[in-house]
Subunit: 321 residues, 2 copies
C-alpha cells in the first residue's frame, strides 16, 4: 500500500504496534515465545489503520479509546487467522510456518482463544459497552461465515446471494467493525457511525471479492497454494458462481465436486473463468462495492484521513497478488 494511506495515522500506528508487541510480555517463557511468533508474523495492519483513519475523519477524536480499539481489531483478525489455519490444516501463512504446524493444533487453538480474550480486553479499555457488544457480534459473524463455508462445501447450490451473505460475515464484518467502532468510541453522531459502518462493510466486500478473483488469476507461487483451491475445497466463490450462471448446463463444477476427472475439470474451470469475461465482471462487482464505500464518506470534511480512506478503496481493487 502507498505510504500516503498510512501517513495521517503514522504516530498512532506505532502505539498500536507497541500494544500488539507487549502481548508477548508474559511471565511464562513458553507462552511469550508462542505469542511473539504469532503477533509478529507479518501483516499490513490494514484493519487498525482503518480504525485510526475513521477515528480521524470523525468530527470528534478520542485517541485514548481509539488506540486500544484499533489494537483489539487487529488481534481479533490475528486470532481468527490462527483458528482458520488450524481448522484448514494450513502449513504456511505469509511465507512462514503456521503456529499450528509448529506447536500442534491443540496449542494453536488455545493460542487463538487467548488472542480473542486479549482482543476483547483491549476493546474494553475504551470503556464503551457498545464497542464491547460490537466486538462480540463481530466474532459471532466471523464464526457464522466460517461455519457456513464448512457446512456448504461441495454443495452445488451455492448462489450469489449466499456468497454475499457468507463473505459479509466472514470478511466484511471485521472491516465494518474496524470503522464503526471508531465512530462509537468517538461518540460521533449516529449518522456518522452509520456511514463509517457502511464504508467498512463495502470495503470488506470488495476486498474479499478481489481475493476470490486472485484464487483464479494468480499463479501458485504468489498464492502460496494451488490455483482454484477454493473450488478444490468445495467452496464456490464469485468467479465460479458466475461460471455456473453463464453455463448452467455445461460447466465442470459438478464434475469437480463429484471428483470425476478432477484435474482435467479443474483446469477447464480455470480456463473458462479466465477467458470468458467473468474476471472483468467480478472486478465490476468489487468496484461497485468500493464506489458505495466512497459514496458513504463523501459527507465527511475533506481531511487527509478521508483522502486516505478513498485511496484504500482504490487500492483494494487495483492491488496485485
Amino acid at each position: 500500500m502507498k505510504n500516503s494511506i498510512f501517513e495521517p495515522v503514522e504516530k498512532e500506528l506505532v502505539l498500536v504496534e507497541n500494544g500488539i508487541k507487549a502481548i508477548a510480555d508474559v511471565e511464562y517463557t513458553w507462552l511469550a515465545e508462542l505469542l511473539d511468533y504469532i503477533v509478529n508474523s507479518g501483516g499490513k495492519r490494514v484493519r487498525p489503520t482503518l480504525t485510526l483513519l475513521a477515528g480521524k475523519i470523525n468530527s470528534r477524536f478520542n485517541l485514548d479509546s481509539l488506540i486500544p480499539v484499533a489494537t483489539g481489531v487487529e488481534l481479533l483478525h490475528t486470532a481468527s487467522l490462527v483458528h482458520d489455519d488450524t481448522i484448514d490444516l494450513s502449513m504456511r501463512r505469509r511465507g512462514k510456518p503456521t503456529a499450528a504446524s509448529i506447536w500442534g493444533w491443540g496449542i494453536a487453538t488455545l493460542a487463538g482463544d487467548y488472542l480473542f480474550s486479549k482482543a476483547a480486553e483491549f476493546v474494553s479499555q475504551a470503556n464503551s459497552v457498545r464497542a464491547d457488544r460490537l466486538f462480540a457480534q463481530t466474532l459471532m459473524a466471523l464464526c457464522t461465515g466460517e461455519l457456513e463455508e464448512s457446512f456448504s462445501s461441495f454443495d452445488e447450490n451455492q448462489t450469489r446471494e449466499r456468497y454475499f451473505r457468507k463473505i459479509g460475515n466472514k470478511t466484511a464484518s471485521l472491516f465494518s467493525m474496524a470503522t464503526e467502532s471508531a465512530g462509537i468510541v468517538n461518540e460521533a453522531p449516529e449518522q456518522e457511525i452509520k456511514a463509517l459502518r457502511a464504508y467498512g462493510y463495502n470495503l470488506g466486500m470488495a476486498f474479499q471479492v478481489v481475493d476470490d478473483i486472485f484464487d483464479f488469476t494468480a499463479d501458485e507461487d504468489k498464492l502460496g497454494k494451488p490455483v482454484a483451491s477454493d473450488l478444490l475445497q468445495g467452496n464456490l466463490t464469485l468467479p465460479a458462481i458466475m461460471l455456473k450462471e453463464r453455463y448452467p448446463e455445461d460447466n465442470p463444477i459438478k464434475a469437480i465436486f463429484e471428483n470425476r476427472g478432477k484435474e482435467k475439470s479443474l483446469d477447464l474451470a480455470i480456463e473458462m473463468i479466465r477467458n470468458s469475461g467473468i474476471i472483468t465482471d467480478c472486478y465490476k462487482v468489487a468496484q461497485s462495492f468500493t464506489s458505495e464505500a466512497c459514496k458513504t464518506i463523501k459527507t465527511f470534511p475533506d481531511k487527509p484521513s478521508r483522502k486516505a480512506l478513498l485511496e484504500i478503496a482504490g487500492y483494494v481493487v487495483e492491488r496485485q497478488k
Copy 2:
C-alpha cells in the same frame, strides 16, 4: 446437588435456561442443530446458580443484569468444554458423544468460538464495561491454565505451587467470575465484590482438587475414562504431587513419564496414592479452600441465598463421583 441450593433462585434459573435454549434459534438449520446439541448436553448449571445466589446475597439486586451475566458465565463454561474436548480428542462427555466426535474438530472449534461470542454478548447486556473486562480476563485465565497444562505435561518438576496456579487459572477463575460479576453488575460496595470474588475463587479451587482426587479414587465406569488418566497424560495433580513429596526417591512417576513399564508403574502409583493417607490430605486441602470460601461470606446477612452458598461449599467436598 440438594434442591435447597437451587431454591432461592429457581425462577431466575428458568430465565437463564430459556436464554441458553434460545441460542439455537438461528436462521440456519445446520447451525441450530449444532448449537442445540451442545447447549442441551446436560450440565448442572452450577456456575449460573452461583451468579444468581451471589446476586441475591448482595445488598443490591439487579435482576435485569444478573440474568444475562449468569447466562454468559454458563456459555463461557460450555464453550471452553467444547474446545477442551476438541483439543483432547475426547469422544464422550456426560455420557453423550462430543460435538467434535460428531461434526469433526474444525466445526467444533468454530462452534466453541461462536459460543464465546454469544457469552460475551450476553455479558455485554448487563451494560457494565467492568463485567465485560472481567469476562475477557477470565477467558484469558482459562486459556493460560489450559496452555500451562499442555506445556508442562510430562514434566516431572510440576510442583504444588505450579499446580495451584494452574487450577486457579483453568477452574477457579470461572467460579470467581461467576460470583464477582454478580457484585459488579449489582454495583455492590467494593468490599462485597472482593468477598464474592474470594468465595468463588476458593470454591473453584476446592472443586478442582476434589475432581483431581476422583481421578484416582473413582472407578473407570464412573469416571468415563481410565483411572489416573491425568497421570497418563503427563499431568501431575495434587495426589500425584503429594506422592512425589512423600516418596521423593522412590515413586513410580518417573517411570510412568518415561513410559517404562507404564501399566505396572501406573497401578503402583494408584495403589500408593490410595493407601497412603494422601487422599485424606488432599481432602484437607479442599476443605481448607471451602472453609476460606465460607469465611468470606460470613459478613453478609443471613438470607436463604447465603445459606445456599454455604451448602454448595459443603457439597463440593462431600459429593461422590
